[in-house]
Structures are given as structure tokens and as C-alpha cells.
């Protein structure tokens, strides 16, 4: 196991840095996707036909195309697009392209999950909020959305798992994430199984850890529900 040590001969430190890149990539992508998804779900639920039509087109495209293709597209094209609009563009690193691509693709899945949850929220809650004379934003933020997250949470947890695993693909754009580091280490040391199995189990540990957190959040969001499972 000397190859996994943290000194100059081992790859332990490199793998740790790679893992932190992977986690950062996944967390940033998911947070941005979450807020974009909230906006998209309001588009999907809008009474405006054009905005609903736009949502349908966007959802169909993003759900029908591999996320890594979107990342490649952004990596190659975004600086050109930004230059055309603003006249200048920051350097688009593989990390930025990865976060942007994953955030855009998965915002559509988040939007769909939240849309479904809003539709499944009891209509009486909307009526009750109106009967109390709450303003629209108060109705959404104090009454509806807290209940929506209870219903959307299982879907959101699934999306997080998929985002986490999709970060592996970003190594194809040249990002030095966990997979890329392991790939290099495997080639140099000629001991590929140790490194790939290490990475594989690292991904399993990441997703199991988030499962535990998700279960805690679920418990909190389900408080006060009659006959909640777990009793």
C-alpha cells in the first residue's frame, strides 16, 4: 500500500487533492442547479404559454443529450459567446466548464422534481394562504415551498447522486479530478487496480455519506406528518 502514502513516492496527497476537486465540482454544480431549477420550475408552472413552451423545449434538449456533451460544448464555445456579448471573456477552465455544464443540465431535472412536488401539494394549502390574506411571495416562501421540499426531497437526493457520479466524466475535458489523478497514478505505478478500486469506493463513500444526511433532512422535513414512517 506504499503507493497510497502521503510522501513524495506515494499518491495519497495527490488523490486527496483530486477528491477535493471532485467534491467541490459536485457541490457547486448541485447548488447552482438547485437555484436554477427553482427558477425553471416557476417557468414550468407559469400560466404564460410561451414560458411553458420554452421550459418544455429546454427540458427535452437537456434530458436528451449527455451531460458531458454539454460540458464539451461550453468548454469550446463559451468564451466565444461571452466575447460576442460582452466583448471580453474570462478564461474558461475545465472546472468552470464542468460546473456550468452540470449545473445547466441538472437544473432541468431539479425543475422537473420541484414542478412535480408543487403539483402534488394539497390545493387547500394555496386556498388557506389566500384566505389568510398572505401576499404571493409570503404564500410561496412560508407556506408552499417548505411543503414542496418534503415531497421533492427523494427526487433531489437522486439528482445529487447522479451529479456526483457525473463529475467523473469531467476528467474527459482535462480536469485533474479524482479520476484523472488515479488514472495518472495507475499508469505510472503500473498498479491500476489499487487506484481504480480506491476511487470506486471513494465514490461509494461519498454517496453513502450523503444518503445519511438526506435521511436526517427527510426526518426534519417530515416532522408533524401523521403516520410518518420511522416511528
Amino acid at each position: 500500500m506504499g503507493v497510497l502514502s502521503f510522501d513524495d513516492t506515494g499518491y495519497g496527497d495527490e488523490l486527496l487533492i483530486g477528491a477535493s476537486v471532485t467534491v467541490k465540482l459536485a457541490v457547486y454544480s448541485f447548488i447552482i442547479a438547485f437555484f436554477l431549477g427553482l427558477v425553471l420550475s416557476s417557468m414550468a408552472l407559469s400560466r404564460n404559454v410561451v414560458s411553458r413552451w420554452l421550459w418544455k423545449a429546454l427540458a427535452s434538449v437537456m434530458m436528451g443529450v449527455p451531460s458531458i456533451l454539454v460540458v464539451f460544448f461550453i468548454y469550446y464555445n463559451s468564451s466565444l459567446i461571452l466575447e460576442q456579448i460582452f466583448g471580453a471573456s474570462p478564461e474558461i477552465t475545465p472546472f468552470i466548464a464542468g460546473v456550468t455544464g452540470l449545473a445547466i443540465v441538472y437544473s432541468v431535472y431539479v425543475g422537473e422534481a420541484i414542478r412535480g412536488a408543487v403539483i402534488n401539494t394539497d390545493r387547500g394549502q394555496f386556498d388557506a394562504a389566500q384566505a389568510l390574506g398572505l401576499q404571493r411571495w409570503m404564500m410561496w416562501f412560508y407556506v408552499i415551498l417548505p411543503q414542496v421540499f418534503r415531497l421533492a426531497l427523494p427526487g433531489l437526493t437522486n439528482i445529487w447522486m447522479v451529479v456526483l457520479k457525473d463529475t467523473a466524466l469531467i476528467s474527459m475535458v482535462g480536469l485533474s479530478d479524482l479520476v484523472r489523478v488515479a488514472d495518472v497514478a495507475a499508469a505510472v505505478t503500473k498498479q491500476p487496480f489499487i487506484f481504480y478500486l480506491f476511487v470506486g469506493f471513494a465514490y461509494i463513500v461519498f454517496s453513502s455519506a450523503t444518503m445519511l444526511i438526506a435521511r436526517q433532512i427527510e426526518k426534519r422535513l417530515n416532522r408533524g406528518q401523521p403516520l410518518a414512517s420511522g416511528f
Partner: protein
């Protein structure tokens, strides 16, 4: 940054060739994945703790590890084992194609196990009891009653997994396979047009996903004919 229709026309045959490679990896995986997944799903439901535990580990491992890591492990890993290099196995593990098929078969099987398990579990207890009370032998009760119903319950999940799987195959470019995404990327670097090849590839992916969705949607409607509202 506009769509170059002349270029699109020129590279379209190459892209379709790439799509053919994508499908040629995917279709054997669907068959082998199902062959592996059915017994593992049954093992997962076994009352024997050891068998059920092993099956649980199988599905947890292959769902948790990103497909890219899996195919790297198979393609780069087995090549370092002397025993593999010196026997007939080498003709399998030296070919990127077979490595991609093996890797994605197990990845797909991992998800199929969970879909099948859910489908078997959603067959109502009463139906199985009815089969039992009719004195149907166990195997007949399974093949004539439980299994056909399970197919119906699991079908929409299977459609989802098929779409995710089709998009996931974009990873095989990393082990030198010239699939749809890899052909598009190659066209980007030879033509210096970062826009047209990727948009064309995205369109082909999207079209393939729509074919899966529409085709399997039709089958699902047929399977659930008895639930359709009377018209």
C-alpha cells in the same frame, strides 16, 4: 458561431458511424445486463441473508462506481495481469470494445437489479396468494403470474434507465472508442469549428433518446391497456 450547414452535411456520415458504435456497445449490454440482473434481483429478495447480502453488494457497488471508473479499471487494469496477457483472455481485454461492453453490462445490471426488485415487490401479495391457492407450481406462479405483472410495474423505470444508459455511453470515448461524442470531438479539432459538430452530435443523441421514449412509451400503453380510461 453559426451552424455551418455545409460542414454539417459533410460530417454527418461520420457522426452516424459514431452513433452506430454507441449502439453496438449498448445493445449487447442490454441483453447481458438482463441475463445477469434477473438472478441477482431474485437473490436480492432471497430469505437467505448471505445470498441477499451478496446481491445487495453487487448492485450497490456497480451503481455506486461511475461507469467511467469501471471501464478504466477493466481496460487498463486487466492488461497488467500477466495471467490475462498470456492466455486467450487477452484477445478480450486488449480490445476497447469488449472492455466497454463488459463495464457497461455490469453498470447497467446494477441498476436493473434495483428496478427488477422494485417491480417484483410491487406485485400485490394477494395475486401471489391467489396463484398459490390455485395450486400452481412455484415456477409456473413465477413465470405466468409474478413475472408478467412485474414487467408492467417496472416498465417506466426501465425506460428511464435506458435513456440514462444511452447518454452514459458517451464515456467510452475515454478508452479510445470512436463513439458519437468522440467523432464529434475529433471533428472539432480537425475543422476548427467548435459549434457545428457538437450541435449535430447533440441532435443525434436527442433523436435516439426520443426514439427510445416514444417506442417504449407505445409498449407501455399496450401493456397497460386495461387501465386506459374508456373512450
Amino acid at each position: 458561431m453559426t451552424l455551418d450547414f455545409v460542414l454539417a452535411w459533410e460530417i454527418f456520415p461520420a457522426l452516424l458511424n459514431g452513433a452506430y458504435v454507441t449502439l453496438s456497445v449498448m445493445i449487447p449490454c442490454l441483453v447481458f445486463g438482463m441475463i445477469i440482473a434477473v438472478p441477482v434481483a431474485l437473490a436480492r429478495l432471497s430469505t437467505n441473508v448471505v445470498i441477499a447480502g451478496l446481491a445487495w453488494f453487487f448492485s450497490m457497488f456497480f451503481r455506486g462506481v461511475p461507469a467511467l471508473v469501471l471501464i478504466y479499471m477493466i481496460y487498463n487494469g486487466f492488461a497488467t495481469i500477466e495471467f490475462v496477457r498470456e492466455t486467450a483472455l487477452w484477445s478480450v481485454f486488449s480490445e476497447a470494445y469488449y472492455c466497454a461492453v463488459i463495464g457497461f453490462t455490469f453498470n447497467h445490471a446494477g441498476f436493473l437489479v434495483e428496478i427488477l426488485r422494485g417491480a417484483f415487490q410491487s406485485v400485490p401479495m394477494g395475486v401471489r396468494e391467489a396463484a398459490h391457492s390455485l395450486a400452481l407450481p412455484r415456477h409456473l406462479a413465477f413465470f405466468r403470474v409474478t413475472f408478467p405483472l412485474a414487467i408492467r410495474y417496472g416498465f417506466s423505470n426501465y425506460t428511464n434507465e435506458l435513456v440514462l444508459f444511452l447518454k452514459g455511453t458517451a464515456a467510452i470515448g475515454a478508452i479510445t472508442m470512436l463513439d458519437l461524442l468522440a467523432v464529434a470531438n475529433a471533428a472539432v479539432s480537425t475543422t476548427y469549428d467548435p459549434f457545428t459538430p457538437l450541435v449535430c452530435a447533440a441532435f443525434i443523441y436527442w433523436a435516439m433518446v426520443q426514439i427510445v421514449l416514444v417506442g417504449l412509451g407505445r409498449i407501455e400503453i399496450k401493456l397497460n391497456k386495461h387501465l386506459a380510461p374508456a373512450s
